[in-house]
Amino acid sequence: MRRVRRLPCALRAVPVAAGLVLAATSAASAPPERIVSLNMCTDELVLRLADRERIASVTWLSQDPRNANMADVARQVLANHGLVEQVLALKPDLVVAGAYTTRATVNLLRRVGTSPREFGVPRNLAEMRVQIREMAALLGEEARGEALIADIDTRLDALAARRPARPLRAIVLRPNGFTVGRGSLVDEILTRAGLVNIAAELGIESYGQIPLEAVALAGAEVLVLNDTPDGPPSLAHEVLHHPVITALAGKLKPVTLPSRLWTCAGPSVIDAIEQLVAATEPSR
């Protein structure tokens, strides 16, 4: 879960830029053969871009198909919990980490000379493309990176053709009653699916909590429920199954979208757009 408010742009650009420089220098040497990833989102990119034999370890989170998109492959790789001992025992030649997670591990690794490459959180599809290229260069898999981006762009073009004449008004409800507002990746996903994000109109920036009352009275035509199907119980997810949501189903179109599709800014966000378009199409 990313509840943390996003940092200002200037701060966020630093790790990206640093990553690019480091990527440029390491691309000249031999590509890494023992890759360790410490963040669920870098896990997904590594799993998509590098061959399994070169991946020494990914986080345990990526092995759960309810949370992660590449769980099948991830299960064939050793899992880590982001701990220094685990990383050092694997003798990695490349460690990738998220810019906001496992901070203590990253700092310790730096002190022992195994500097991890850090990756930020893209806020839109353009930043996502940059990150895929960056990771591909780091792994020495530029061709696969370009192929992945080309596939994304082809699918986006196909989706643009299906965009409706009149955009439907939509609101996203995530666990714990969170919604997604302006300046977030999900906001762009909704726009690309031909939906108007009501939360953005209400002035919510990136992530914010919204009371169920406000959701019910927002005048939405589409309610996007960000659920983890068959997930273990939590109060956070109970909000998504409140009787008022069931009662609302007669007045608007509920669309259940698994959280894992947009937990990370990876190629699966295109799946999210496709599912949204497909779910709202027949009503037009």
Partner: protein, 337 residues
């Protein structure tokens, strides 16, 4: 004689007045919310059975919140009065002595194991089992007339154990959100509760209230001493069983749906005791009504306070209750000197 007659009259007036205040706070609870709700239209549609959006918000979100506030407050207030009467100790309260946290532990086990997803009743039953075990432990260890010191120490032990075990259970729960939800279970909240929660706990709470209320004459007799009560024909073991069972039913099911809301059973009986002529039996229903008012008012407070996401209910009741507890401890200390 004159004093007793005055007390009787006051009690006679007290209950209707408390009832009226509950109605007012409950009405305010329906009117206060996070979105602008056209109340007249909502009521008209709800009565006519039209499932309009305002009617939905009124019936599915605001009504269960107000009802649960009243039910949970009544349960906590009455259980506080019952335990204080039984243990003849002003600090005996479900929250202070650890019964609420044990109930939270039971509910957490039932909820996060997935049991309550298959059998809904498992949630309140888990809470009741937790509350019952804690109450039994208290009585087996301390017996009735326990000193304030031992009671508080036992409460500290039970509270820290149940709190730690709840934290452990939440950390072991497979859902990544679970670990953060300890705040709900330890502090309590009425946010986003539904009518299904109301129906789930209402029968169990009613049973608990009736059990506790049935002990009123025995509690009055007990205030004259155990031997006197026994000589008046009251079976003390049977009294104990009904009180423990009733309090566990009411507190356990309350905590299972709203988390542990502290201090209600401490503050309310103390404020109302002089108004019922210090009769522990009469205090039961009065404290229930007072508890309902306190929880409803606290819940209005968290929604009106400009803090988002809203404060947990237990935070507000603790702000009221903790100074109260300190004052009480101070008074007990002075009396002991």
């Amino acid at each position: 004689m004159k004093h007793r007659a005055g007390a009787g009259l006051r009690t006679l007036v007290l209950l209707p007045v408390l009832g009226l205040v509950i109605l007012i706070t409950a009405a305010a609870s329906l009117a206060v919310g996070y979105a602008a709700l056209p109340l007249d239209q909502a009521f008209a549609d709800a009565i006519a059975g039209r499932a309009s959006l305002p009617a939905l918000v009124l019936l599915e979100l605001r009504l269960p919140r107000a009802l649960l506030g009243a039910l949970v407050g009544f349960s906590l207030g009455m259980a506080g009065a019952a335990m204080q009467g039984l243990m003849r100790n002003p600090l005996a309260e479900p929250g202070v002595v650890g019964i609420s946290s044990a109930a939270a532990l039971g509910a957490v086990a039932a909820f996060y194991s997935g049991l309550s997803a298959t059998v809904a009743l498992a949630l309140p039953l888990g809470g009741i089992a937790g509350a019952l075990s804690a109450t039994l432990v208290l009585f087996v260890l301390l017996g009735r007339g326990a000193s304030t010191m031992t009671l508080i120490l036992a409460g500290v032990a039970l509270n820290s154990f149940a709190g730690a075990a709840t934290a452990l259970a939440l950390n072991l729960a497979p859902n990544p959100y679970a670990a953060l939800e300890i705040v709900f279970w330890l502090m309590g909240s009425l946010a986003d509760r539904s009518m299904s929660h109301v129906w789930l706990v209402l029968p169990l709470m009613l049973a608990g209230w009736l059990l506790m209320a049935s002990t009123a004459p025995a509690l009055d007799a007990l205030s004259l001493g155990e031997e006197t009560a026994a000589s008046l024909g009251f079976d003390l073991t049977w009294l104990l069983a009904r009180l423990i069972g009733g309090a566990a039913l009411a507190v356990g099911s309350a905590v299972a749906v709203t988390g542990a809301i502290g201090f209600v059973g401490l503050v309310v009986p103390h404020l109302l005791r002089p108004l019922v002529g210090h009769r522990p039996g009469k205090l039961l229903v009065a404290s229930g009504l007072g508890g309902a008012i306190l929880v409803l008012a606290a819940d209005l407070g968290v929604r009106l306070a400009p803090v988002r996401p809203e404060l947990k209910l237990g935070v507000v009741t603790a702000l009221i209750g903790a100074p109260f507890l300190f004052a009480l401890v101070q008074r007990l200390r002075r009396e002991a000197l």
